[in-house]
Amino acid sequence: MSTVAASRPEINVTLWISTTLLILCGFVAFFGPWILPQDPTDFVTDQPFAKAQAGVWLGSDYLGRDILSRLMNGARITLAMAFAATFLAHLIGDSLGLLAAIKGGWVDAFISRVADVILSLPKIIVGLVVVAALGPSVPVIVILAAVVYAAGVFRIARALGNDIVAMDFIKVAKSRGEGTGWVLFGEILPHVVRPLAADFAIRMSFAMLFMSSLSFLGLGVQPPLADWGGLVRENLGGLSAGSLAAVYPALAIAVTSIALNLLVDALGEQKVDQKGTR
């Protein structure tokens, strides 16, 4: 019996909005240095937290530098770090997760235990301790985020893998005597590519939030480099004066993160994971 669509196919407004936003972000991140209106380290206004004006479209920051330029520059750092961390997390998590699903046995049990330990610790506290120990630098933060999120990716890849491994066509392949390589790449991978890609997008938003929170606490990217979280931190002082300087970078983070989530949701791949938290 063929299935009947139960809901009206929507004009996917959210899909279009989120894709546009993300392309915009990517564009800015890529071409940033060539399209900055000002030099991000130049003092362009006499007064700090100056209002928006010609050439300084979003006003200036706590030192009188152009916020828009710093924002665009920060896009590069923020997005590159988020991408790198997520890429590493997936590299580790996907391969281990699918392997655990195929092999089962003690391989599965051991890696699962390790992942459980990592997952049972609050990420940001772990971040604080590690950064306190090793010092805040970009490689440290990226690897920290990668390890911390790899555990979650492992769980998802393993669950997806297990669902597929339970199917008879895997037994058929195994009864032929197919090796792990074929089973993984030939049989399982086509089924898990889409959900894992969706997870990639969402996890990138988590990684971005995580790392910018660390920067916000002063334990992330250090000056003179400034990612979006750091920009929020720098300009907090202007809030009481009514300056939006701290809001713009926070907004940038929010918009990118929301766009990623909306995109995945609109594509119908949103799997609300067990915790529902970041």
């Binding site: 019996m1 009864s175 032929r176 197919e178």
Partner: protein
């Protein structure tokens, strides 16, 4: 003049967002005390039609035209409150899967008597009394207290009877039964059918009985309506439909069902003298840690089997008999704890990893659910081509030619090679399944319930295909099924399994026409026959057999299954 309990006129139901109608202009009626059966294959629209009798449509469907009138009330335009007051009280629904239809966290008494509470027809005490009375009539053990349990604490057959009790709680005018016994073992089906028929007769309810099995329907129905792709093909009394069907489709259905019989002539079968190709010796297998050669959970015990070239050997068992474990043990997917398997006299390694390429090639396993046995993301040519590459190292052009050959062998057109499993029907998928097994050039084919998920007509064609392949290729086939009729039509020898032990084995003719073992007798008598009156005979025979089976149990030692050699 009393109006009919249910009157459906010119009903057309179609998908909300485009597509052909699910129910296409059907008209029928059910009078008091009548049982109308809706017969059809899956996709015929029978469930959708049955649900309209309750004024219910599954999501994604809409009514294009027509009317459904229940006891004079037009349902399709009724207010939600009206519908609610009718449901459970005037018309009741009995679902196919009781396990899914009961709330896992509510006690059974509570759910069975819920309609009374919701419709405020009885006090709590009275409602429970009615429920318990029904339990007694439906032959549930310990009727005063069993209702206190949760759904997962009773067996499948018992749960189905709770469903029937739930339906009869308010003595409805119309009972809508949606494949109420399809999910049960044959032996359980007999009990439940009897209970249902009794319940309908005692309460003088009218009933709408949906099924795909003519034989089951023949036992309870007074009238039969044949559906196909949403159209009413034929409508008439049970007698007329079974004895003198008018439409060709109906005739095909009746004929296919008639042939699916277990009755055998009992003619003696010539003795086979060729040596077995595959011999299963003393296999014990299961799950969990192995102590003293026996696994903690034993699914097979000391099973022997002989399979010969060019012959089909049947293995019959109900759920829990261990038949699927046997298939997996032979295929090497599940190493046995004890015993060995011999192929052409050589012992096979217990697990597939240890077997040689040649051994793996020679034994091929064909699975039941073609949906999960074929990788949806691969095309047919990749599915079959991989086997050709893996076992025979065939280069690409030779593969393409061979794939066409194989598809022809399973009666599929060559252009199917570029299709994916999602584009194929159930029967076609099963054919691809077979083609893949054949691509290895096997000598032994293990068919594990390959027709169980298919309709009678489609199943019949698959069985014919297996016979053809057996004859053309000289394959040895192990045919595993719970359906005696299927095995009977195909297999030369048959082995009956129960709880992991062999209960009886021998030539099909002998075992099925003159079963020696009480359990085999029970199985044989439980297969529905197309003649009315079969149910009553089966119940009588069953009671008698059940007694001898139970008393005989003490004489049976589970570790020493009785096995009888057939007289010739």
């Amino acid at each position: 003049m009393t109006h009919p309990v249910l009157s459906i006129r010119n009903l057309v139901v179609e998908p909300r967002y485009g597509g052909s109608p699910i129910v296409n202009g059907v008209s029928l009626s059910v009078d008091r005390g009548e049982v109308l059966a809706l017969i059809g294959a899956s996709g015929s629209g029978k469930t959708t039609l049955a649900l309209t009798a309750l004024g219910h449509l599954r999501p994604g469907l809409s009514i294009k035209q027509g009317s459904v009138s229940l006891d004079g009330t037009e349902l399709l335009k009724a207010e939600p409150r009206t519908l609610r007051s009718l449901r459970g009280r005037i018309v009741a629904y009995i679902a196919q899967s009781a396990a899914a239809a009961f709330n896992p966290r509510m006690r059974l008494d509570h759910q069975v008597s819920e309609s009374s509470r919701v419709h405020r027809t009885r006090s709590h005490q009275e409602a429970l009394q009615v429920a318990h009375r029904l339990y007694r009539e439906l032959d549930l053990p310990n009727p005063e207290h069993i209702g206190n349990r949760f759904p997962h604490q009773v067996s499948g057959g018992q749960l189905q009877r709770f469903m029937i009790a739930m339906g009869l709680q308010e003595s409805p005018l119309l009972l809508v039964c949606d494949e109420p016994t399809s999910a049960l073992d044959v032996t359980t089906q007999v009990e439940v059918l009897r209970a249902l028929k009794q319940g309908i007769q005692d309460n003088q309810t009218a009933a709408l009985f949906v099924s795909h099995d003519l034989a089951v329907v023949a036992q309870v129905a007074t009238k039969i309506a044949v559906l196909r792709s949403g159209n009413l093909v034929e409508f008439g009394s049970t007698q007329q439909i079974l004895e003198a069907p008018r439409e060709p489709y109906t005739r095909e259905l009746v004929q296919a069902r008639k042939e699916f019989t277990v009755q055998r002539s009992g003619r003696p079968v010539p003795v086979t003298t060729i040596a077995p190709l595959l011999k299963v010796e003393n296999i014990t297998a299961g799950y969990g840690s192995v102590i003293n050669g026996r696994p903690a959970i034993t699914t097979l015990q000391k099973v022997d089997l002989s399979i010969r070239k060019g012959e089909v050997t049947g293995v019959i068992g109900e759920s829990g008999s261990g038949k699927s474990t046997l298939a997996r043990v032979i295929a090497g997917l599940h190493p046995a704890a004890q015993g060995r398997i011999l192929f052409s006299g050589e012992t096979l390694a217990p697990s597939v990893e240890q077997r040689s390429l040649a051994d793996r090639r020679r034994i091929q396993l064909v699975f039941q659910m073609a949906d999960t046995a074929l990788n949806q993301k691969h095309t047919v040519s990749r599915i079959i081509g991989r086997v050709l590459k893996f076992f025979h190292n065939m280069p690409a052009d030779a593969r393409a030619a061979r794939i066409t050959e194989l598809l022809q062998m399973v009666q599929l057109p060559p252009h199917y090679a570029t299709r994916r499993p999602t584009e194929l029907s159930g029967g076609e998928k099963q054919r691809v399944n077979l083609a893949r097994a054949l691509a290895a050039n096997p000598e032994v084919l293990i068919c594990d319930e390959i027709t169980s998920a298919l309709d009678n007509i489609v199943a019949k064609s698959i069985i014919e295909l297996v016979e053809t392949l057996r004859d053309q290729l000289g394959l040895a086939v192990i045919f595993i099924s719970h359906d005696l009729a299927t095995v009977a039509s195909l297999a030369k020898d048959v082995t009956v399994l129960r709880n992991g032990c062999i209960v009886e084995s021998g030539s099909t003719e002998a075992v099925l026409s003159n079963p020696q073992n009480p359990y085999t007798k029970l199985l044989v008598s439980s297969v529905p026959e197309l003649r009315p009156g079969w149910l009553e005979d089966a119940v009588a025979a069953r009671d008698e057999l059940q007694q001898s089976l139970n008393s005989g149990e003490q004489a049976y030692d589970a570790s020493q299954p009785r096995r009888l050699e057939q007289a010739r």
